[in-house]
């Protein structure tokens, strides 16, 4: 194949598509839809992946969450009837479980009103101890977390989430200001960095939460709440073994006889991965089906239009053969034309999905991955080649005399 004939083929393809603009664009519709679906799907999955990484990071790796409630799965009624976990149980766990660098009790309210001046926001209030900061990947962006002194003496200080800060203080510096919770005053000593949310839920995000010393919390909100215990493992311990030991130790703490099943849950961030995987595979399967169908429809459309194109240009094929075009010259000409059409469809698809990916970015920080752009164009081209092969071959093997006689 000469570069010459290749260029000639490109030029013909370009002209042929240019001469039949509307027809060309319509035939590529299937390809367009296929490419839009593939790219948006990849963009969403990428965004979810980023969100997952952030959530995993913010929950902290190697952290177990001992709780009355199962985060994922589990029987809600059963959980409800469990004994509450107490602060002293948390204390005992801390003393007996040796594989952790931090064992931290956290007690939480439902939504509380947090006021500053005449502004107020709703947020979850947590009571915990100074070690809490060792269990989380999210750090104060301004100020600091409370220290052991403040924690032990139950000082009225608080560390607030980014959204609480921006809603109450706007552009003001929150540090040193006083907010009111349940009529009590708390001095803001720190603001957490922004965490964002995972799959539209801020359940695990500190952005709308407030942290105060545990002893103060118990004083203000009372002690009738189940405590969550965050257990940050030592580095390099075997996570599975540690979990078994953790369960064993906590059963001892709660004096559970061997024939009773656990009356607590040991949660990990792994469930996020499970949620993520199931969401991604659902998106993937649906996207794959839609994409395959549209590419199939698109491919059939392209094949059809290529047959029309070959028929329309029978006489031209005869002429080209008369002046010396070989089979493969004609074959390549029509293959290039069909690939060109499909790549055009791919490009239109990308032109549509790119602005849509920017819209997605507003809800789920993400960007259209570059490899998806390359992949879409390659798939388009492959569809073009596959659906062009039969029409192109028909053209290539035409008898020149009959092609010339064709009216």
């Amino acid at each position: 194949m000469h570069l010459n004939t290749f260029r000639e083929a490109l030029r013909i393809a370009y002209r042929s598509v240019g001469d039949n603009k509307l027809r060309s664009v319509l035939t590529t519709l299937g390809i367009v839809i296929g490419v839009v679906v593939v790219t948006l799907m990849a963009t969403v999955i990428e965004g979810l992946g980023k969100a997952l990484d952030k959530s995993i990071e913010s929950l902290g790796t190697d952290v177990y969450y001992v709780s009355k409630w199962n985060w994922f799965g589990g029987d809600w009624w059963k959980s409800r009837n469990r004994r509450d976990i107490t602060v002293s149980e948390a204390q005992k766990l801390r003393e007996r479980f040796t594989q952790a660098i931090a064992v931290v009790p956290v007690v939480s309210t439902w939504e509380e009103t947090i006021k500053y001046g005449n502004l107020s926001v709703q947020g979850i209030v947590n009571g915990t101890v100074e070690d809490y900061i060792a269990t989380t990947g999210v750090l104060p962006e301004e100020g600091r977390f409370f220290n052991d002194l403040e924690s032990n003496s139950g000082r009225p200080v608080c560390v607030i989430g980014k959204e609480v800060a921006s809603n109450l203080f706007g552009k003001e510096d929150p540090i040193g200001k006083t907010v009111k919770i349940k009529g009590y005053s708390y001095r803001v000593i720190g603001v957490f960095e922004k965490e964002g949310d995972f799959m539209g839920s801020s359940m695990f995000s500190k952005d709308t939460q407030v942290f105060i010393p545990l002893s103060n919390f118990l004083h203000v909100f009372g002690g009738e709440r189940s405590v969550d215990i965050h257990v940050k493992l030592k580095p390099h311990v075997d996570k599975e073994e540690a979990k078994i030991e953790l369960i064993g130790v906590f059963r001892q703490v709660r004096r559970l006889p061997p024939d009773k099943e656990d009356d607590f849950a040991v949660n990990t961030q792994d469930f996020l991965k499970d949620v993520f995987d199931s969401v991604v595979s659902t998106i993937g399967i649906v996207g794959f089906i839609i994409t395959s169908l549209s590419l199939l429809v698109g491919g059939v459309g392209i094949m059809n239009i290529m047959f029309v194109s070959v028929k329309e240009r029978t006489k031209e094929i005869g002429t080209r053969k008369a002046v010396g075009a070989r089979k493969r010259d004609i074959l390549v000409q029509f293959l290039i034309e069909s690939s060109f059409l499909c790549i055009l469809g791919g490009a239109i698809g990308l032109a549509i999905s790119f602005p849509l990916s920017l819209v997605i970015d507003q809800f789920l920080p993400s960007s259209m991955p570059l490899w998806v752009v390359a992949l879409s164009l390659s798939i388009s081209m492959a569809v073009g080649l596959v659906s062009g092969i039969v029409p192109a071959y028909t053209a290539a093997r035409m008898n020149p005399v009959e092609a010339l006689r064709y009216e």
């Binding site: 000469h2 010459n4 004939t5 000639e8 002209r15 001469d19 006489k315 031209e316 005869g318 002429t319 080209r320 053969k321 008369a322 002046v323 010396g324 075009a325 070989r326 089979k327 493969r328 010259d329 008898n399 020149p400 005399v401 010339l404």
Partner: protein, 247 residues
Amino acid sequence: MNDAEHDLEPMIHIVNVSKTYVMGIEEVHALRGATLDISRNEYVAIMGPSGSGKSTLMNIIGCLDTPTSGLYRFEGINVGELDDDALAAIRNKKIGFVFQMFNLLPRSTALHNVELPLIYAGVPAAERRNRAERALTAVGLAERMHHKPNELSGGQRQCVAIARALVNNPSVILADEPTGNLDSKTGEEIMRIFEDLHEQGHSIIVVTHEEDIAAHAHRVIRLFDGEIAGDVPVERPRRALRHHVTA
């Protein structure tokens, strides 16, 4: 046959060639046992009524088609044994076709139409353009080479087609009813170009059913019902009138 005999053999050597088309159950004998030789630098007219097999013969001579039976040797090569690509290569390098309907690519300029055989021959762009320009100049269309066919008159279109046939410097130019779609004055101008080309040393075969056109040739082969019914030299070939293409 050895090389010396090859050299003696005429450019076109046709012995007892037949062509049968099968249309369903019906067989059409387009050519029945034609035998003829045509040498380099001849100017031949092939005449005969419609359906007598003129185009069929021409297509076989031009390697667009192969005989059903019989022998055809072109420049010593047995055409019957060649595959499609080899036939294409001969058409590309050795044959120049001129058709009744011009057969130009409608979207392309005259220049690009003339470049077409060179594109398939793999000639580099600069040389291609150069040669195409020269061919167009030779047929008097230097001024029009950037025009598309629909911007040219019928006569001018046929001139582009002749330039395309010329551009690869073929062994023979084959014209099938080249004036069939033109008025007689324009036809005369086309015949003048063939006359000039013949004088410059080209071999020319013109298919026609018009005596006036055939009268320009130096030899007339008559076909009737697929058989050669006559093959005579022309005593005094008619000279084309010398004036310029205007139409």
